[in-house]
């Protein structure tokens, strides 16, 4: 379970998270929607400790992410994250990209890491691309590779940061299909997304972020189909 309690986060004088509280249960899929600059992506970076916070706390299965003694490297093995810019490692083949962390972080042998990597790549539909370099892949394929790379660590949680925003429209579908598959498999996921219809279809709950706070949170169909707050209504009107 991920528990976010009254989290505050600033970049210099700019406060981007102004007291956010939220809990995600094991097996749940939560989508976070909201305008640009509302703090959605920043929250994800705080959950796995890539960004420090200035107030509140975040617990992942009871471990305080931002406590001084927390071993973040160990914690991050259990929290996969996929970024808007997929960040493939360009000097490694697709297979090597996915093998790297299992080998060097989990200490697995070459053969075992290869099996794990190949299995996850096949799972996201890249079984034919193992020995190719990322530069030869489309954006959608690179993004699926990034998903496989995160999955190869067998994480308990997956965070997705606008993973389709940088893709050409015709490539969005294949990545969303991959996400849908993971959700069907029972993966616990937090999705920051602009794909409102997709969020409605795959999420258990949806949270609407506005100016650094959660304005509305609830079952996906209610928040998107029948929003209560005027900000949510405005936002959904502008994007749907």
């Amino acid at each position: 379970m991920i528990e976010i309690e009254n989290v505050r986060k600033s970049f210099g004088p700019l406060e981007v998270l102004k007291g956010v509280s939220l809990a995600v249960q094991k097996g749940e899929v939560l989508s976070i929607i909201g305008g640009s600059g509302s703090g959605k992506s920043t929250l994800l970076m705080c959950i796995n400790g890539l960004e420090p916070i200035q107030g509140g706390r975040i617990l992942v299965d009871g471990t305080d992410v931002h406590a001084p003694g927390t071993d973040l490297n160990r914690l991050r093995r259990r929290i996969g994250i996929v970024f808007q810019q997929w960040n493939a490692f360009p000097h490694l083949t697709v297979l090597e990209n996915v093998m790297l962390a299992p080998r060097k972080v989990l200490g697995k042998g070459r053969r075992e890491a290869e099996e794990i990597a190949a299995k996850n790549l096949r799972h996201v539909g890249l079984g034919e691309k193992l020995s190719v370099y990322p530069s030869k892949l489309s954006g959608g394929q690179q993004q699926r590779m990034a998903i496989a790379r995160a999955l190869a660590m067998s994480p308990d949680y997956m965070l997705f940061d606008e993973v389709t925003s940088a893709l050409d429209p015709q490539l969005v579908g294949e990545v969303l299909d991959t996400l849908r598959m993971l959700s069907d498999e029972g993966m616990t996921m937090i999705l920051v997304t602009h794909e409102i219809r997709f969020a409605r279809d795959v999420s258990d709950r949806v949270a609407f972020f506005h100016k650094g706070v959660i304005h509305e949170i609830g079952p996906a169909r209610e928040v998107i189909g029948n929003p209560q707050m005027p900000e949510t209504i405005d936002f959904l009107k502008s994007v749907l």
């Binding site: 796995n48 890539l50 490297n73 160990r74 991050r76 093995r77 996969g80 994250i81 970024f83 810019q85 960040n87 490692f89 360009p90 000097h91 790297l100 962390a101 060097k104 972080v105 989990l106 370099y133 990322p134 530069s135 990034a146 790379r149 995160a150 660590m153």
Partner: protein, 221 residues
């Protein structure tokens, strides 16, 4: 017009000795590049560091290496360190001097190379549970070496040519040293040094070509 008769035979006879000298030159160049590269990685990090002491040390090294003559640097490691009680022989002081020079020049290339790699690469590596050092070594450094590969090749050629400075600190086993000894014994200056120049040229070409082959083999992405 020419009041000089060429005598090529002694020069041809000296070729085996000169080739031996060439190998010594090449050896010093390779070693100095390896040492220089290792130090340059640290200096490049220093140039990007917030730690003022680390930054100052790296900047001082780079400034000195790039803005003083290589000859001066080799002199300093031989005579300068010698007057401080650290006595290096000719070979060692030449190696140290050129390594110092290599490190200074390469540090700036490496810094540029590191700046060209997006911060998000480190972020992606860290998000997979890698420590800072692991992320640097496994993700950032290999990409940097591709970016700086041609400057690195350049520096290797430079290093080879700089080994000729060894003669100024009494080195007589490298190509220039061997040539100079033959010269003072026979005064066939033109013949010997022409041969030496051709050998340097061929070695430099060899370095450039093998670097190109290596790049083709290494960087397939």
């Amino acid at each position: 017009m020419f009041n000089y008769t060429f005598h090529w035979r002694p020069a041809f006879n000296a070729l085996p000795r000169m080739f031996e000298g060439a190998l010594v030159s090449l050896q010093i160049a390779v070693l100095s590049l390896v040492i220089g590269t290792a130090i340059a990685v640290v200096l490049a990090l220093g140039r990007r560091s917030d730690n003022r002491l680390f930054y100052g040390f790296a900047t001082g090294w780079v400034e000195l290496a790039r803005n003083t003559p290589a000859l001066f640097q080799v002199y300093m490691t031989y005579f300068g360190l010698g007057s401080l009680g650290i006595h290096l022989d000719s070979y060692a002081s030449l190696l140290v001097g050129i390594s110092f020079n290599n490190a200074g020049y390469l540090a700036e290339s490496f810094r540029g190379g590191l700046n060209a790699i997006p911060e998000t690469q480190t972020r992606a590596a860290r998000s997979l549970g890698m420590g800072a050092t692991q992320a640097f070594r496994l993700v950032v450094l290999p990409q940097m070496f591709r970016i700086v590969f041609y400057p690195l090749t350049n520096q290797m050629v430079w290093a080879l040519l700089m080994t000729s400075l060894g003669v100024t600190v009494g080195l007589n086993t490298d190509l220039t040293g061997v040539t100079q000894e033959l010269n003072v014994r026979t005064f066939r200056t033109f013949e010997y040094f022409l041969f030496a120049a051709v050998i340097y040229y061929l070695m430099a070409k060899f370095i450039t070509l093998s670097a190109r082959l290596l790049a083709w083999r290494l960087f397939r992405y």
